[in-house]
């Protein structure tokens, strides 16, 4: 099993609350993603065994939802909002700055597998633009100084 005991227990706990088991798909996929950082076939098989529905139904659902990477990503997945409110306040230059700081292009992962940089659609941080999400956390009202500190803190944390 790739899914650890905690994840399995969490999926089972969520599963029993729904009137129908198939509803546990998205919660289970979310738990698997949080543990592994990206989704793949082996995880779908394990989820399918836990909630007892065909593996194809797990894969079909998972492939629809773009929040879950389907390929390996760095330890920290940096998602910069490039939609209108953030773009008006410099999202493109923020992406450029991150590319420069990390030495990678958008869509790439640093050689040490620490950071993956992508841009995404509106994250709902519009009044605090420009903003980005790293793993589960939002970072808002970004400035050069703030970005420098965030990256430094994450490197130290790793």
């Amino acid at each position: 099993m790739i899914l650890n005991e905690k994840s399995v227990a969490e999926i089972k706990k969520k599963m029993v609350r729904y009137p129908r088991r198939k509803s546990a798909r998205l919660p289970a996929i979310t738990v698997a993603y949080r543990q592994e950082g990206h989704l793949h076939g082996e995880l779908y098989r394990e989820i399918s065994q836990i909630i007892e529905i065909p593996v194809i139904d797990i894969a079909t659902a998972a492939s629809f939802y773009t929040m879950f990477p389907k390929e390996p990503v760095g330890k920290f997945l940096i998602q910069v909002c490039h939609n209108i409110s953030c773009a008006l306040l410099g999202a493109d230059s923020l992406i450029g700055y991150l590319e420069e700081k990390l030495g990678i292009k958008k869509g790439e992962t640093t050689e040490d597998d620490m950071f993956t940089l992508i841009s995404v659609e509106c994250l709902g941080g519009c009044t605090a633009a420009p903003m980005m999400q790293i793993n589960d956390e939002f970072y808002e009202n970004l400035t050069h100084e703030k970005v420098d500190k965030i990256l430094e803190d994450l490197r130290n944390k790793a």
Binding site: R17, Y18, P19, R20, K22, S23, A24, R25, L26, P27, I29, T30, D57, T60, A61, S63, F64, Y65, T66, M67, F68, H82, N83, I84, S85, A87, L88, L89, G90, A91, D92, S93, L94, Y97, V120, E121, C122, L123, G124, G125, C126, T127, A128, A129, P130, Q133, D136, E137, F138, L142, T143, H144
Partner: protein, 427 residues
């Protein structure tokens, strides 16, 4: 200026705790309906308030509740739509993360009103923090007996599930949201039947926006007439507005409906950023048609914005200044709608893709004579011809951009570059 009703306590960091919420009069409305009111009386009070769907459609909530068939023996469900994804909008998030119990209480009252014993809050996947706050609130409400079996000894049972999404804008559309809760791909459903008749698991279901449901406890505590006394004749109450873009003080502001847009942008928002000149305003989320500077005194209510050629939508006001190329704006928006189209129906799936190709090539300086007419024709073939409103949402800002700024689009094609270069540096 601001009229803080739903957002009265959002700046108090303790408001997320049930004890603080209770000390501010929390769960009194729930107790009142369970002990003193029958479900039809609750629906009547909400109808009287005139509160309308705050997610964007503006449909009266009480009327929607009344659509549940009385003779259907199946279970009924309430779904609170917290999939907030319309670009520019971040107001439900404030309620979910800073006053989650108000959402839980509003949901509990509404569930009682429609006869539901299981309610879902659909929290957009990226909102990990708001989801944690909602889960904490639900747990606390169970512990204190405001959820679960035999609530406050009244015999009414209600369970509540916090369901998180997976980053799909379309799941904010109610029928797609129901598919998503069922664990399916979040694709829209044909209507009829409407969710009130056959929704989640083919059972009668009511889907309401977070802000709509959060208003319900206030309506119960103070009466529908009190709520209806705020706002305009047809747009009652207050509404949260997310102000973003080129303004000095962006933020979420709660205003009485009917407040002039200029009050939001100039008085509360502090006016234009760095003294730049106003060029356009998107008043209700990225899908709503744009307004011009001379319309800044328009009143922020459902009717006035329709009259002005746009919509109140989700209340997300995006301010755009003179440094901005409107083709560039259109490209950002169509890229979004193309990305978020669920792919179920052809006009939206293919149409948004073709629109993106055409608009991107104009923006790149590769536009050809006739491209604008092609875009207009495509827009006309999408508008009103799709299963759900995503197609319309994609088209409206494009149509309005071409209508209001046609000279810029033509300049772009003729000169193979922007009339104004949108180069925005972050600080």
């Amino acid at each position: 200026m601001e009229k803080k009703i739903l957002t009265k306590y959002v700046d108090d960091p303790n408001q997320i705790n049930i004890d603080t919420y209770l000390s501010h009069g929390g769960y009194k409305a729930l107790e009142k309906v369970l002990k003193e009111m029958k479900p039809p009386e609750v629906i009547e009070e909400v109808k009287k308030s005139g509160v309308r769907g705050r997610g964007g459609a503006g449909f009266p909530a009480g009327v929607k509740w009344g659509f549940i068939p009385k003779d259907n023996p199946k279970p009924r469900y309430l779904v609170c739509n917290g999939d907030e994804s319309e670009p520019g909008t971040c107001k439900d998030r404030v309620l979910m993360e800073s006053d989650p119990h108000s959402v839980v209480e509003g949901m509990a009252i509404s569930s009682y009103a429609i006869g539901s014993h299981l309610a879902f809050i659909y929290n957009r996947g990226e909102f990990a923090y708001p989801a944690r706050m909602m889960e904490k609130a639900v747990e606390e409400a169970y512990e204190k007996g405001y959820l679960g079996k035999n609530i406050l000894g009244t015999g009414y049972d209600l369970d509540m599930i916090v369901h998180t999404g997976g980053g799909a804008y379309i799941c904010g559309e109610e029928s797609s949201q129901l598919n998503s809760i069922e664990g399916e791909r979040g694709m829209s459903r044909m209507r009829p039947p409407f969710p009130a008749v056959a929704g989640l698991y083919a059972c009668p279901t009511i889907v309401n926006n977070v802000e709509t449901l959060a208003a319900v406890p206030f309506i119960i505590n103070n009466g529908g007439d009190w709520y209806a006394s705020m706002g305009t004749e047809k747009s009652n109450g207050t509404k949260l507005f997310s102000l973003s873009g080129h303004v000095k003080n962006p933020g979420n502001y709660e205003l009485e409906l009917g407040t002039p847009l200029s009050v939001l942008i100039n008085d509360l928002g502090g006016g234009m950023l760095d003294g730049h000149k106003l060029k356009a305003i998107i008043p209700g989320g990225s899908s709503t048609p744009m307004l011009l500077p001379d319309q800044i005194d328009v009143k922020l209510d459902y009717e006035s914005l329709v009259e002005a050629g746009s919509m109140l939508g989700s209340g997300a006001v995006i301010v755009i200044d003179e440094r901005t190329c409107m083709v560039w704006v259109a490209e950002r928006l169509i890229h979004f709608y193309r990305h978020e189209s669920c792919g179920k129906c052809t006009p939206c799936r293919d149409g948004t893709g073709w629109l993106e190709q055409l608009i991107s090539r104009i923006e790149r300086g590769e536009g050809k004579p006739g491209d604008i007419e092609k875009i207009e024709s495509l827009c006309g073939n999408i508008m009103g011809r799709t299963v759900c409103p995503l197609g319309d949402a994609a088209v409206m800002p494009i149509q309005s951009s071409i209508k209001l700024f046609r000279d810029e689009w033509e300049y772009h094609i003729q000169n193979k570059k922007c009339m104004v270069k949108s180069e925005f540096a972050f600080k």
